[in-house]
Subunit: 360 residues, 2 copies
């Protein structure tokens, strides 16, 4: 079958062996597959990616071919042995991108042996299949995986009604967090990004106040909101300090670049909580004294649970998480290498999806 | 009155003006005052201390004299105007080291205008006074302040019965955390320090397993304990990874030196929570990807609440928090400068207390 292959740190289109479903596995046709920022990382910083991604990179020998792609909507073509065949052939499905073989989890799209969605066909685990509900189209269904990352981050924040959320960075992860916050009815949500396109998308996804950090400090804006009660009244001043009392801040780090956490620690006030969702591949610096003097809490998060993944698909299908604006491009297999290049420009694109069954 | 004065980054004994209690304030005799690691920091790194300690250092102009000392037991000598005079003259008291003057909090022991406990007399706020209960002696009562830091850190950890705590560093802060954990009935508690004296004190304070990191990895020991259930049974293996399931780890960072948080992130397993109590004055480095791949949570803490401070005094007075072994030296005013030097050697001392009313 035709596939986009990562070979010698390049993407090439080639024929690869047809995948064969093992026991409990299903052969599917890839209908749509989103390109993830992690795939860009994996291509550019392959060695660091493999070394530092326990559970994801561990199945990859970078001297051998890898077919990436883990944000997919697919269609059931055939069942392997031992399946319950619960869903009819032709059912459109989403699934968490993982297979368990001989008790060992294998990441679909980050493995030498299991091709991901940048190929015409894949194998998936039958028990993980989620039929696409409510007539949801392929493109939006394929956004389940990246949006589940936002749902998980918001879950980890353990928000209360009183919290004032701030999203730093409006790339695909920040946009997923904004969408998940709004699906939960949380607000006002403040979001910040240097890119005009990303700010526009943040607004489309429901962010209430969108900031260009080159012009305004997101932390000042957050403080102004946090100084006002839910009922819209200015909070009283702290008699000890003469400064207004503030509602708790929950800051989402969705940039993943060294220095951002430190900058957030400077901008935060006492008792703020951070959820670190952006994946910084390099060493970073912090000043612990800033954290101590403000009693900050940092929660690092990764991925999602099976429940969160399934819930995200339902939320998208029911229209509670709008995603259509996030898709800024569509390519066939031949267009993937160019798409990887285009995605480096935040002004050009948010999410490009691959439709491996069509030519460019 | 006689006092130890910080002047030009040195400690000198000198006469300073007698403090005068203002409205709602009380004149007290300092009976005992512990020397805190923060005082050593303040003397050696005065500029950084003032700049980086909002709320504590902000009241200090380092070009002027400062009388430090904030871990005290005192005796009421006289009341200022407007006091309720609830406690008889002569009552022995502890208090949080803070005064509020004209609505502005002033740190007792870190201010040019309010002398701390390295002087014969101090002024304190009447509403904060806590009479020393149960015939508790001055020396142990003076340990209320540093032990409250441990109580606060353990509170911030939000421990469940299933958690397995690990204390990294057994200086005064680590020992306070160990003591607070044991007062809560938590265990087994693993503690680690390179210093033989500190390891001995960790045992005295109730740590169940005490590790020399030069010989054994504290993280390996923690893992072995975490792989056993509360009922003493080996936990099952994770079918996905083949490694044993682990009870949650709660790691207390009580060193405050760059690199320790990173090392703890390497040693931790998925879902561990860190409480950062050690005060690192310098820039530190972390690898966010380690935190992300293990979904770690870092909670920075500082000080204590009024409730925790009062509870600590009660716990010490009732014998639930033994502290007598922590006091390894006593000096008069003339001995303070030498005591600061001696405290730099972890083999020589844990806590030295000052009795300003006696000569060396």
């Amino acid at each position: 079958m035709r596939a986009v292959v990562m070979r010698d740190s390049k993407l090439v289109v080639d024929d690869v062996p047809e995948p064969v479903p093992g026991a409990g596995e299903v052969l599917v046709k890839t209908r749509t597959c989103g390109i993830c920022g992690s795939d860009l990382h994996a291509l550019e910083h392959t060695k660091a990616f493999v070394e530092n991604s326990p559970g994801v990179g561990s199945g990859m020998d970078v001297r051998r071919d890898v077919v990436m792609g883990h944000e997919f909507c697919a269609e059931i073509l055939d069942y392997g042995p031992g399946c319950t065949k619960l869903h009819p052939i032709g059912t459109r499905v989403c699934a968490m991108p993982v297979l368990v073989r001989q008790g060992v989890p294998v990441a679909v799209g980050y493995s030498n042996d299991v091709p991901g969605g940048y190929a015409e066909r894949m194998v998936l685990m039958e028990p993980l299949l989620l039929p696409v509900p409510n007539g949801l189209d392929d493109l939006r269904a394929a956004l389940t995986e990246p949006m589940a990352v936002g749902v998980h981050a918001v879950e980890a924040a353990q928000l209360t009604e009183d919290d004032v959320p701030l999203v730093i960075g409006c790339g695909p992860i920040g946009l997923a967090v904004i969408t998940a916050l709004k699906a939960r009815g949380v607000g006002p949500v403040v979001a910040a990004d240097y890119s005009p396109l990303r700010r526009k998308l943040a607004e489309t996804q429901g962010a209430d106040i969108v900031i260009d950090p080159a012009e305004t400090s997101p932390y000042t804006t957050w403080q102004e909101l946090a100084a006002v009660s839910l009922a819209g009244e200015k909070l009283p001043e702290n008699p000890m300090t003469g400064t207004p009392m503030l509602r708790p801040g929950v800051f989402f780090e969705c940039v993943g670049v060294p220095g951002v956490i430190d900058q957030m620690m400077v901008g935060a006030e006492r008792g703020c909580r951070f959820v670190i969702v952006g994946v910084c591949m390099e060493q970073d610096h912090i000043r612990p004294l800033l954290g101590i003097s403000k009693e900050l809490a940092l929660k690092f998060v990764l991925g999602y649970t099976a429940e969160e993944f399934a819930r995200t698909l339902t939320l998208i299908a029911e229209g509670a998480m709008p995603v259509e604006s996030l898709i800024t491009g569509k390519v066939g297999i031949e267009g993937v290498a160019d798409a990887f290049r285009d995605l480096k420009n935040p002004e050009a694109h948010a999410k490009i999806v691959v439709e491996p069954w069509r030519s460019r």
